[in-house]
Amino acid sequence: MVYLTRKIEFSASHLYHNPAFSAEENRRVFGKCNNPHGHGHNYVLEVTVAGEPDPATGMVLDLKELKEILQREVTDRMDHRFLNYEVPELAGQIPTCENIAAVIWRLLEPRITRGHLNRVRLYETPDLFVDCYGEGNGAGAPAGGGR
């Protein structure tokens, strides 16, 4: 099994606010992330696909194809967007790194037709990131915990 990882970046804004909470509770739970005007990040996404290289091409999947999938499913949807209002897949959810990573997993997983999606790693900042392994059906060993 070989694991290949492709990285992209996108920039987007968001805010954390739960309408079921009072204004004071929102401020207490979410802190400065509750600023009603929102704020933004340069997100870095690392997508890992696992599979056996095709004997004819030597590739797990064509990186060009993966690049196009990431452009269509992630960049076109999320880059330079206000995630709360402009990404329907996040409607009704707080757009935390956890929830965005899970949405990206669900968008990508059915599009990867050669090999299989192994891990989605989403950096909100260099100091905060989330790994998503889907439903964790145990398909293959996870990519290394490090870079």
């Binding site: 935390t96 790194c97 905060l128 889907g134 490090g146």
Partner: protein, 142 residues
């Protein structure tokens, strides 16, 4: 959905690699310049991964304010700007290699009450790093 929340922390500390189980010559041979009796220091980076259900009300595995306060109290405050050999109890008995630092930090962070610790990664410098995910079920760790 299986998710791991990773958070990165930093501390700077000094240490000396010297084993009481080895002679002076052997210590010098094994540890080289890291055996310098005056010690030396590093800017350490710690990454910790936690898992658990994502709270629907907050979208979070763990509130970062809670997590940061916990890690600050358990690791950053006791380790930062300290001489690890003398000022961390564990390293009076064990050599403070980054392997052992990684294991000690893992044990400290398993006490976080709001999520399950999955893995700890420690960079001693940008060129070397160590990871520890606990022992497999049934195994014992000395």
């Amino acid at each position: 959905m299986k998710l791991h929340l990773w958070r990165r922390y930093r501390f700077s500390a000094s240490h000396r690699l010297h084993s009481a189980q080895l002679g002076e010559d052997e210590n010098r041979r094994v540890y080289g310049k890291c055996n310098n009796p005056y010690g030396h220091g590093h800017n350490y980076v710690v990454e910790a991964a936690f898992s658990g259900p994502v709270d629907e009300a907050t979208g979070m595995i763990a509130n970062l304010a809670d997590l940061d306060a916990f890690v600050e109290r358990e690791v950053v405050e006791p380790f930062d700007h300290k001489y690890l050999n003398e000022e961390i109890e564990e390293f009076r008995a064990h050599v403070p290699t980054t392997e052992n630092i990684c294991i000690e930090i893992f044990h400290r962070l398993t006490r976080f009450p709001r999520a399950r610790l999955e893995r700890v990664r420690v960079e001693e410098t940008g060129l070397n790093s160590f990871e520890y995910a606990g022992e497999p079920a049934g195994a014992t760790h000395e």
